[in-house]
Point group: C2
Chain length 508, copies 2
Amino acid sequence: MPSPAEPANLMEALVALAKRRGFIYPSSEIYGGLNGFFDYGPLGAELKRNIRDCWWRDMVQRRDDIVGLESSIIMHPKVWEASGHVAGFTDPLVDCKVSKQRYRADQLFWSPVVVDSKTVGYVSALESEKTAEDLQAAAELFKRKKAITGTLAPVTPRDFTEAKESEIPLIPSPATGEPGSLTAPRAFNMMFQTNVGAMTDASSVAYLRPETAQGMFVDFKNVTDTTRVKLPFGIAQIGKSFRNEITPRNYIFRSREFEQMEMEYFIHEDADWAKCHEEWITWCENWLKSIGLPASHLSRYAHPKEKLAFYSKGTVDIMFKYPFGVQELWGIAARGNYDLTQHATASGKPQDLFDEASKKKFVPHVIEPAVGVDRILLAVLCAGYDVEDVKDEKGNVEQRTVLRFSPRIAPVKVAVLPLLKNKEPLTNRARALHARLQRRYAVQYDDGGAIGKRYRRQDEAGTPWCVTIDFDTIEKPGDTFTLRERDSMQQRRITETELFALLEEQVY
Amino acid sequence: MPSPAEPANLMEALVALAKRRGFIYPSSEIYGGLNGFFDYGPLGAELKRNIRDCWWRDMVQRRDDIVGLESSIIMHPKVWEASGHVAGFTDPLVDCKVSKQRYRADQLFWSPVVVDSKTVGYVSALESEKTAEDLQAAAELFKRKKAITGTLAPVTPRDFTEAKESEIPLIPSPATGEPGSLTAPRAFNMMFQTNVGAMTDASSVAYLRPETAQGMFVDFKNVTDTTRVKLPFGIAQIGKSFRNEITPRNYIFRSREFEQMEMEYFIHEDADWAKCHEEWITWCENWLKSIGLPASHLSRYAHPKEKLAFYSKGTVDIMFKYPFGVQELWGIAARGNYDLTQHATASGKPQDLFDEASKKKFVPHVIEPAVGVDRILLAVLCAGYDVEDVKDEKGNVEQRTVLRFSPRIAPVKVAVLPLLKNKEPLTNRARALHARLQRRYAVQYDDGGAIGKRYRRQDEAGTPWCVTIDFDTIEKPGDTFTLRERDSMQQRRITETELFALLEEQVY
């Protein structure tokens, strides 16, 4: 497979293609959109659905040690007190009192402007891929505007959480360019809040879950009491979560409403957690490759010990090389028994199991692989997007845009194309094939326009195979079709039986 | 198939079974639960998933005229202004000022107590299957307590929305039994409200969607602009919706968080809407039967013309006979072009299509089949639940509980049972079969306990087939297993190839 195209404007091109072909629309677009919310159009809904289904089949259906769960999005507020989210699920928020703009303090960078070893002022810039350059340019502009002579030192970028109380009034707001309007950072809770029931007071406050994981912990005893699971075992869930991000960004990478696929794998307190952790990291990497993400775009990031929460034994993120940088795709955390212990304390309901060997009760430990569906979808879009020069039927060079999705997740598996739309023997044969394929697979019937044009249309949708029903099909023995492969654009003859066998092997 | 059992305590038995076997748990149960919210355990999550998947495959994948969508749960608040939900999506709420209880006025019934043609007082009762009897009994008690002589007239039950201003202070609160504490009904909006962004003021108010349908309307132009759909065509969506019900009840029938499967079928303004409406009603009925709901439990209810919204051309509900009464399962509404017109006006963006024939623009009309996943799940639980006397291996009569799910939606399709757990030739053959089945189907491997006991366990989970790998399998030619059918309990020999063919035919 050719390496994915990486034009400078890859994100821009992708967003345009995703809109134009009905993968992703801004939410409520006719009303001007809603920042941090997105809709998935016909092709996007299928792609998302396939990602979820592949994960569920591999994670739950094809394993004997993992069961599924669907817990509610709104849970009892005490869940989030016990989990630590009410107190601690915050981002540092900075207000600009003049512009009313709000910033995440850890995304707002600043530096003193130092000329001849003397601080002459301050500059600020929002985090980007070139924060330091922006600050340097701002410092040079500052020096020039103020007509200060001397040698400007290189800027020393720090984020706003590192600003001293005395420095805060001196740092300019990115909105106004003037100092004096930024407030000290305050903790902003990212959980969306609502009220359940007819009362609107403190007693009725509830939250939209910011993660699906707590559902597995709160239902832990229900699952062990009502199924025949034995350690080690996992509980898996797919569902929406909500985070009131101060600055949603990077398209669907950091949105306010998103979908998670999380699994809590419970192990004995004496089990070799590091081995289990490593096994799950490897499993996740392999799974990402199985849906078509190239190994070259994946890497690992182990969180430094000193930055871990006190209960955490270790967290490794599988990183993906997005066009806007290498970013977290899948976090695999060894969380000890923190969550179950917290809920046992807060609820007064023991969350332990009985160990037949030692005749003692214990609270299991957990390994948690947590990934976002939207982030995977963006990754497969980025990795699969390609623009290449190809020759058309007359030998002229033209560009084709192609989404090289794995057959496992491609929204449309096969396009059935009768060579001509007005020849009944062709269309009858095509319709019959289409109907049989449609029983099991998402397929399209397309009889509109020249074959080359129809191929291009399917390339842009990421359809792995086109089958053309042509005169050889109906006139020659063997009842074969032309199978055209998306990536190689090669064509070969194939029978219906062979086509079903190909699909059975590749779409799983 | 035997008719479903209907013990008087069917709901109680069902709720207990659903909990005990891991279908449904109360949400946040260790914290005392949260009224109107439920979690789906391992078997319930699979059952729910299968219901959704069957619907999607039949509604989207297997049709050429319907495309999918996944719009966000939180949409721009103007969506809900235009749709009429901000102003009108309300239930009449009554407070009891003494007990602080809250009631839905249309579920709070009352009657004057009339003795010898004279009103001597008032009684009230909450809606139930025997509201009139309850009121009559209360009236008799009232008469006796007050030692009133004369002939008591039959009560005339009306709901609280029909109480005159002068009657309200005279009607007793169901909580206290005394009049004077009930307020006049006020409109209570059922949308859950939250705030998006760091501001918590009117400018940031947003709602959790109370229905998925508006997503299809708001994205209508996006879909027509980015796909090749032509009228008539539909947009389908499955997703969570939220309604802040004053009195959630009947288990998962009326909960505050639920999942919908809605489809908007757009037709030409001059199309025969009544014919299309009827076709969709029939389609929905057939679909319900295809997942195993008996025709005997289904009926139709056509909303009377005078109760329809002004824009509505007609609504027919497919009703299901639940243990707590015949209730709405699937509403099929002919909504004219109200929604698109509302959004065109509110957004200033035309929502019309161009008619090639008449060379005129027009706003399509819509037929909307809308159903709740949880209601279907409850219906298949109710219809499938059966308790019957059967003979065990020794000829003793015992009771078996069975969930007669259709193979299409059964959480587990096949249980693979080696006759003995410690005979390697048996377990090896069983493991090999299990692995091959597991690639495509949700299956279970169970080697624990006597075969009869394992069959019972699968009966309670609704597993349509058990295959037992026995000595005939490994010792006799043909490599056949014992296939045991859940409903008939009949056994026959089957090969692996035949088993896969059976599954391919029945699980679709």
